[in-house]
């Protein structure tokens, strides 16, 4: 791909990016969120059309005008979120775009079985409904779909995000065998260790621009991180200004049926407690259960030594507990609603007069002031939240809890899907909140974030707390050890 440029509504998403990948190699594409990786791959697969640039395959200039054309050229993407029909069988899903008018079921299943056997998944039946098999197997189905089209270029977009470590191993062996067959593989991931294990070359993008292509053997993780963020990690986190006080929040013996058991922890005033662990360790579920957004078995929650009722979000919010959900678009903000409505949602009662009339003047003032305090970039408090950038949407979601005057806040992956600049600002907001005495519980899958922000961290693995680390003990090594269960 040569000199690719693409702009969305005047904002450059890609600026003169050039990217080479060879047959039979696994090439990593890295960069922060918003660096332009997905845009580049969407151009390659014909989802977007580039403004400028050229794509060459085997030295031949090709034009990829739509996804169907990309498939003809042998380009396939395996997206993070699978494009599978849950109610159809494995075989139907694989051949969905090439079904004959009259389907020969036996032939279809045989072809599917051959593909599955090649990958070493003969235990998966072509007749199973896709909705009933595990996420890892669903990914296998996606891969089969790509292989059945004789793909020459295969893009994996964060394939391991949803997999357990066993499944990751299996996936890696598939990817390696594909490489040995001469397929060109482009691998997008945030996980440094995976990239170092799997890929021979790494191309780094930053803010829509090409930074560098390096051989994996020539760089260290540190150098790579510097390429990606363009600065030292330590510069990202604000100096700690909060002073830590008494224990204000305690959760004891919390269990979530089938997910987590006997979770107990406490947080102090002005303290940021990191919650680390692998995806699927049950961190989000436990916090949802504490907040009342999910059923829990037993356990108690105390605020300043007094037991509080948190069996529904309504009761939790009334007790001064708040939660910034992991999935901002689905659970965090009302995309169609203005910033104002979003920010005062949980404490509308403060602005009420007779007959439930809202005091708009006071509301406007409060929202404007809070917006300024978090450096919200918008055209005004009536701008729809959905038209803001990811980082600013997240700030709106945080404003809701600031205006809700919560004393204990759960931040679930607070910087997921936001760019580096906004990340730094969100860290600053968290530090400010802590300085005001708010106790913060921060779930994060990014280890630098846990290390940089937490005063203390607990690590979860398979639904249990496997350890607690003080500020001094917080190192990547210790975190990995506890989250993977290494002794």
């Amino acid at each position: 791909m040569l000199h690719i440029s693409k702009a969305f509504g005047g904002v450059a998403a890609l600026d003169d990016v050039t990217f080479f990948a060879e047959a039979g190699e696994i090439h990593a594409l890295m960069g922060e969120n918003g660096a332009g990786k997905s845009t580049l791959m969407n151009i390659l697969s014909g989802v977007y059309r580039m403004d400028k640039g050229e794509i060459h395959i085997n030295g031949e200039h090709v034009s990829v005008t739509n996804p169907a054309r990309a498939r003809e050229l042998g380009i396939s993407i395996i997206h993070q979120e699978f494009a599978l029909a849950n109610d159809l069988t494995v075989a139907e899903n694989i051949f969905i775009d090439r079904l004959d008018r009259f389907i020969n079921w036996r032939e279809l299943e045989q072809k599917t079985q051959i593909l599955l056997d090649e990958l070493g998944f003969d235990d998966l039946s072509p007749k199973s409904k896709v909705g009933s098999i595990s996420v890892a197997y669903q990914q296998v189905v996606e891969i089969c779909k790509a292989l059945s089209r004789n793909s020459r270029i295969l893009v994996f977009d964060e394939p391991t995000a949803v997999l357990t470590s066993n499944e990751v191993d299996k996936l890696f062996s598939i990817i390696k065998s594909l490489r040995d067959k001469g397929v060109c593989i482009i691998y997008i991931s945030h996980r440094l260790n995976e990239v170092f294990e799997l890929c021979s070359k790494i191309t780094v993008l930053k803010d829509g621009k090409y930074v560098d292509t390096v051989n994996t053997v020539d760089v260290t993780e540190k150098q790579l991180v510097r390429l990606m963020i363009g600065r030292e990690l330590s510069e990202m986190f604000p100096p700690k200004t909060a002073s830590i006080g008494e224990v204000v929040f305690e959760a004891e013996h919390i269990s979530v049926p089938g997910i987590a058991e006997d979770i107990s922890f406490h947080v102090r005033e002005g303290e940021i407690l990191g919650v680390s662990g692998l995806v699927g360790a049950g961190r989000t579920e436990v916090m949802q259960a504490i907040f009342g957004a999910r059923k829990r078995n037993g356990g108690s929650v105390r605020y300043k030594g007094q037991s509080i009722r948190t069996d529904s979000p309504r009761h939790s919010v009334a007790s001064g507990l708040g939660m910034l959900p992991e999935n901002r678009k689905a659970d965090g903000v009302l995309l169609e609603m203005p910033i104002k409505v979003n920010s005062t949602l949980c404490r509308l009662d403060r602005y009420l007069h007779a007959f439930g009339r809202i005091d708009r003047k006071k509301e406007d003032e409060d929202v404007t002031r809070t917006g300024e305090s978090v450096h919200l970039k918008s055209s005004g408090i009536l701008q729809k939240a959905g038209s803001l950038s990811g980082g600013n949407q997240q700030k709106v979601a945080i404003m809701k809890w600031i205006l809700g005057s919560c004393r204990v806040l759960i931040f679930d992956e607070p910087t997921r899907g936001v760019d580096v600049g906004a990340k730094i600002e969100i860290y600053k907001i968290m530090d400010d909140l802590a300085a005001q005495g708010v106790a913060i519980i921060m779930i994060s899958s990014e280890m630098p974030e846990i290390i940089g922000m937490s005063d203390r961290a607990i690590v979860m693995r398979e639904g249990r707390i496997t350890g607690e680390l003080s500020k001094e003990e917080l190192t990547e090594y210790n975190l990995i050890k506890l989250s993977m269960g290494v002794r």
Binding site: M323, L345, R357
Partner: protein, 329 residues
Amino acid sequence: MEKTKFAKLGTKEFWIQNSCFVILIVLVIASAFLSNVFFTRQNILNLLRQCIPLLIMSMGMLTVILTGGIDLSTGSIMGICNMVVAWFLFYHFGKSVGGLVISILISMVVGMVFGLLSGFLVTFGRLAPFIVTLAISQIARGCAYLISNAQPIRLNTKEAGTAVLTAFGNKSIPGIAIPWPIPVGVIVVVIFFLVMKYTSLGRIIIAIGSNENAVRLSGISVTSYKIIAYLISGFTAGLAGIIITSRVSTGSPITGDGYELDAIASCVIGGASLSGGVGTVVNTVIGVLVLQLLSNTLNLLSVPSYPQQIIKGIVMIIAVLAQRQKTSS
């Protein structure tokens, strides 16, 4: 440069929100040209009076649609409320004004109970609003037939209470010569406008339609607000049923048949989104007027009712297409 972008966006949104105004104005002009009786005081008042039951029902429908639900039972609730009020007036309370009040209250309670039932089934029963209200619609219609033995009740307009109701439906306010139902409709619309725009109830109902999960996680009881929405819809459907009764002085089990679809159509022509969170009171009023104007004009031109339906359907498609094209671009 950024400023021009926002200005552009502004005009575009202006068009999306106001395409139903344009359609209304076009219809008014067309009607004025096509029929020389259209712009008479008598015809305009007639048009407005006719649209009042639909207008009131559409307000309740809008409330439910804003939460992301739908209420298919309103036509039947209108029917049962018409039956109940007529039955009580005819057999028990028709003789006095106090009796009239009691009959109306009982009838309204019946309407609200059906609304409440839908609300409970949608929230606690976790059933799809479409199915629940379709079932409630059947139940309400069945009850109406049961009460009436499938025979209409013709009210005795000589009794004092019944006479007041009939006068309300057929006479005008002395002095200004405006039919009584019109100010009632206006009051209902104004109340809904104020509630949706200025109160927490309105804001939270719209917020629920926009993103129910986020609202729940903000510590708001989504369940109670949804139930309130269906309750309101039952209330407005009942009120519509009573106003119809006052007009026709008859209790008939088929009253309100198909009204719910006109109410939904009004909301949609007014730009409301069936997935919730989008829609305004003013635009829904326009939607009602568009539908009513259409049948009024076609009646004036003595177009038979079947071609009328076809034309109505076409206008609906045009209205929705106009909004869609502008949204997607």
